[in-house]
Structures are given as structure tokens and as C-alpha cells.
């Protein structure tokens, strides 16, 4: 199955979806590469500035069971905390594609957000330093505990514990203050497939 070239959202947004998928997997949800591709495609077919549509688009593609829904919604609320970030992602994409974003998609703070969210110019060779940073800021214990969790086998108490862990995690978007490299908003588009494959190679997650 070939993925039609997504118009908007192939870069920053795709990267965020990738990180979000990692978060879901840490929480024990079985999100696979095909789900990420579907989620990325879905994101190009909705109004990116509409948080509710965004949540549903990711949910419909990344989870496949009712039992996973609550955990998903919690993770979504944490990860996509600021709807402006999502709007900014769309704006960045449009800028990168050489189009001027509509004014309402580029609020005054968007430059800061743009810098915060733009993916650093990609280095061809792994290990991807960004992924390492993310893993470093996660508290090690929470990270390990969540990675060992098998959601299917969890009881109500364990699920509650998992949710608590999710709340404690320092998430990728929080990295904007710690990242030192200069982001380049006009940098090359991220090839989602390549990024996913790369992340699979050394992420060791499914």
C-alpha cells in the first residue's frame, strides 16, 4: 500500500505524531508503524486547527479498542496540550512549502513556537540525538515501568497507575526549553517513512 504524498503536515506534524506514538507505546498501547502512517494521513484530511478533530483523527487511526480509549484521551490531552502548537505546526508546514499561512494561523507567538517545534536539520546517521534527549528527560523509573507494562493484562488499579505515570512524564514538547541546537524552520521536509524506520531501528520498540 503506497502512501499518497501528504500536502500539509508531513514534517513537524509527522514528527509530533511519531513522538506521540512513542508515548502511547510507553503507556502500553500497541501502536504500530502502519497506525502512525494512517494517523499522519488522517491529520492531513482534517482541520488541523481543530483540536477535537485532531484528537478523533489520531484516535480512530491509532487505537482499535474501546478499552484503550481513555488512556489515549489522557495521553492526547497531555501531549497536545496547547492547540496553538498544532496550529503553528500547520503554519510551519505552509511556510516550508512556500505558501504564506493565512493570518489566523500565524498568531504573534508563532515565531517562538515555530522555533520550538521545528525539527533540527537532520543528520543522516543515527543515533538521533533528539530521541536521546527525550529519553533523558523522562524520569528513568517511570520510563522503565511503563515500557514493561502489558496493557492487555492490566487491572483497573494498574491502569490508574499507568495514567498517573503518564501525567508525570516530561513530554517531547516540553523539550523546547532544553534544546540547544538552532532549529531551521525552512529545513528539509521530514520523510515520515524514513523517520519511522530510523526510529524503529534504534528505538527497539515495535
Amino acid at each position: 500500500m503506497s502512501l499518497p504524498a501528504p500536502a500539509i503536515g508531513a514534517g513537524v506534524l509527522a514528527t509530533n505524531i511519531l513522538h506521540f506514538a512513542r508515548l502511547l507505546r510507553r503507556a502500553g498501547l500497541p501502536v504500530g508503524p502502519a497506525d502512525m502512517l494512517a494517523a499522519s494521513e488522517a491529520a492531513t484530511r482534517i482541520d488541523l486547527g481543530n483540536r477535537q478533530q485532531m484528537r478523533v483523527a489520531l484516535r480512530a487511526t491509532m487505537i482499535h479498542r474501546h478499552e484503550h480509549q481513555e488512556l489515549f484521551d489522557q495521553a492526547f490531552a497531555r501531549f497536545w496540550r496547547d492547540p496553538e502548537l498544532v496550529k503553528a505546526a500547520a503554519a510551519i508546514e505552509m511556510l516550508a512549502a512556500g505558501k504564506a499561512p493565512p493570518p489566523e494561523k500565524a498568531p504573534p507567538g508563532s515565531r517562538r513556537l515555530a522555533e520550538a517545534m521545528a525539527k533540527p536539520r537532520e543528520k543522516p546517521e543515527p543515533p538521533d540525538p533528539k530521541q536521546q534527549e527525550i529519553d533523558m528527560v523522562m524520569t528513568v523509573s517511570a520510563n522503565e515501568r511503563l515500557q514493561k507494562m502489558d496493557f492487555e493484562a492490566m487491572g483497573a488499579e494498574e491502569i490508574a497507575a499507568a495514567k498517573a505515570e503518564i501525567r508525570k512524564l516530561t513530554l517531547p514538547l516540553d523539550l523546547r526549553r532544553t534544546r540547544r541546537r538552532r532549529p531551521d524552520p525552512t529545513g528539509p521536509h521530514v520523510d515520515l517513512r524514513a523517520t519511522i524506520h530510523q526510529s524503529l531501528r534504534h528505538g527497539g520498540e515495535k
Binding site: 500500500m1 504500530g32 502502519a34 497506525d35 494512517a38 494521513e41 488522517a42 484530511r45 482534517i46 482541520d47 481543530n50 477535537q52 478533530q53 478523533v56 483523527a57 484516535r59 480512530a60 487511526t61 487505537i63 482499535h64 479498542r65 474501546h66 480509549q69
Partner: protein, 294 residues
């Protein structure tokens, strides 16, 4: 007819078909159409899962092809069957007329004309207009059937060993539903966009009533919905779905009731609850309590 271009257009299409969808459902339906992915709807009985497929077919101007699943559903009933009687006839005729070319004959009798299409084949038949395929209550079919469905859901094609592979000219819009009497396999789930159909909120249920039972008075509608919503919090064998709410409203209106009274509730409870134990539990004091806690 072309597919709706946005979530808003999808919502309008559902609305025009008398379907009251929340944003989440409209968004998921839009994505299923836009991405050519099957839509997998799970949820409580009577919450409008089957209805979605009907409304989509009507709204898109497509034919509705429905496969109702049941225990023991097999390929012959779900996909296709060779018309053995006609095949036999063709053989007899060929033999009688002395045409003894066996290989030509066998390729003849495994031709399209001898293939009887059941819902799954019909839905992807390139010679027929585009379809909405409803695979209803998949949880009732047995598991081996799901394995067979995979090819169809992945590529909208179906392979008949004696004949070849049949591709849809236009991918069908596919809606699968389940009441979760059994867990549908992950392989199927992963190919679909997933949506859990919950009971509607009170406001939405009133809207549904206004669409489906327009003769019901405003006050009665509000009381009915409040009562049903509270009933759904009770520990019952089978909770009332939207279908029951609509039936109950119609029944009460038919009996010239303009407001809920303990008497009218007791008399008509059988429309709302399907099990004697449930009726016995709610009738009388409990019903009165539910009405009072408004």
C-alpha cells in the same frame, strides 16, 4: 455522487439523512470516506451503528449491500457460490451435442455467468454501481470468517480459486459493526478506522427524538429522555438503546400521553425494557423514584 470534502460536509450529509451525529462520529466517517478505509463501529445495542451505513448509502447515492453475520456464516452465503445446477446442465448439453472438448468446457463452466454473487462479491462487482458494504454484527460470525474478510478489507478484492481475482472498480464504503459478544480479531481492527458508539447525551437524544418521532411533544420528549438516561445508570440485564427511546416515545404519544405519569410508565415499560426481570425491577417504586429525581 462525489464524497464529502470536509468534516462539515460529512456532518451535513448525515444530518440530511436524519442521522444526528456528534463531531467525533462525523470526523471518523469523513476520514473513512476520504482514506478509503473500512469503518469499524463498536458499541451498545441500538445506538445507531447499522443506521450509519443506511444513511451513508442514501446520502452518497450508492446501493446498500448488507451482510448480516451469524454463527455458521460461510463463504457460500457471504461471498459467492458456484451455480452447480447450471454447471451440470451446461455439461449435459455439451455432451449431448457431441462437443467433447473437455478443457474448453471446464473453463466455460467456471465463467462469471455461473458464479452466484453473495453480498461480499456483489459489493466489489466492477459491473455494478458503487456500493456501501455493511458487514453487520461481525461478532456473531465465527473467527475463520474474519480471516477470509482480510483480503477483501485490505485490497477491496476477492479471489475465487477457480476463476481469478475480482477487483472493485470503485472501492466500496465499508462499515463493520459489532456488539462485542465476542472480540473481533486485531488483524481486522488494524485495517479499520475505529469508533466506539456510545449512548447519546441527553441533548443529542432529544435531537434524535425530534428527527425520528416529530409528533412527540416537547415536554414529553424531555421527560422521556431524562428517564431513559437515568435508567441507563441502573444495573439492568439490557439497557434501553436509542431504538427503544424512539419506540417508547411513539407508544406514549399514540396513547395520547403528553406527560410521563407513574401509571403510563408502568403500562408501557415493556416497550423500553425487553426482559421480565428488568421490568419487574423497575416497575412501581423504582420508576417513581427515577421520575422524581428529575
Amino acid at each position: 455522487m462525489s464524497l464529502p470534502a470536509s468534516v462539515a460536509e460529512t456532518a451535513a450529509l448525515l444530518e440530511a439523512g436524519g442521522y444526528v451525529a456528534d463531531t467525533a462520529l462525523a470526523t471518523t466517517v469523513h476520514l473513512a470516506l476520504a482514506m478509503s478505509r473500512p469503518l469499524f463501529l463498536e458499541g451498545e445495542p441500538g445506538t445507531g451503528k447499522t443506521e450509519i451505513a443506511k444513511v451513508l448509502a442514501a446520502g452518497l447515492g450508492r446501493r446498500l449491500v448488507r451482510l448480516q453475520c451469524y454463527d455458521g456464516l460461510d463463504l457460500a452465503a457471504a461471498a459467492y457460490e458456484w451455480d452447480h445446477a447450471r454447471q451440470l446442465m451446461a455439461i449435459r448439453i455439451a455432451e449431448a451435442s457431441g462437443a467433447a472438448d473437455r478443457t474448453a468446457l471446464s473453463s466455460d463452466i467456471y465463467g462469471r455467468a455461473f458464479l452466484k454473487a453473495r453480498p461480499l462479491l456483489s459489493a466489489i462487482d466492477p459491473d455494478l454501481p458503487p456500493a456501501v458494504l455493511l458487514i453487520d454484527e461481525l461478532d456473531r460470525a465465527d473467527e475463520p470468517f474474519e480471516a477470509f474478510l482480510l483480503e477483501l478489507l485490505a485490497d477491496f478484492q476477492l479471489t475465487v480459486p477457480e476463476y481469478g481475482t475480482i477487483h472493485a472498480a470503485t472501492p466500496p464504503v465499508v462499515v463493520l459493526t459489532s456488539n462485542r459478544t465476542r472480540e473481533v480479531h486485531d488483524a481486522i481492527r488494524r485495517r479499520c478506522l475505529y469508533h466506539w458508539v456510545d449512548y447519546p447525551s441527553a441533548a443529542r437524544e432529544r435531537q434524535i427524538l425530534a428527527r425520528k418521532a416529530p409528533n412527540v411533544a416537547e415536554t414529553l420528549s424531555r421527560q422521556i429522555v431524562d428517564f431513559v438516561q437515568r435508567l441507563r445508570k441502573e444495573d439492568l440485564f439490557k439497557l434501553p438503546g436509542v431504538a427503544e427511546t424512539i419506540d417508547w416515545a411513539s407508544a406514549l404519544t399514540h396513547l395520547d400521553q403528553h406527560e410521563l405519569t407513574p401509571e403510563s410508565v408502568d403500562e408501557t415499560l415493556g416497550v423500553l425494557l425487553k426482559y421480565q426481570d428488568d421490568i419487574a425491577k423497575i416497575r412501581g417504586a423504582e420508576a417513581a423514584r427515577l421520575m422524581a429525581s428529575a
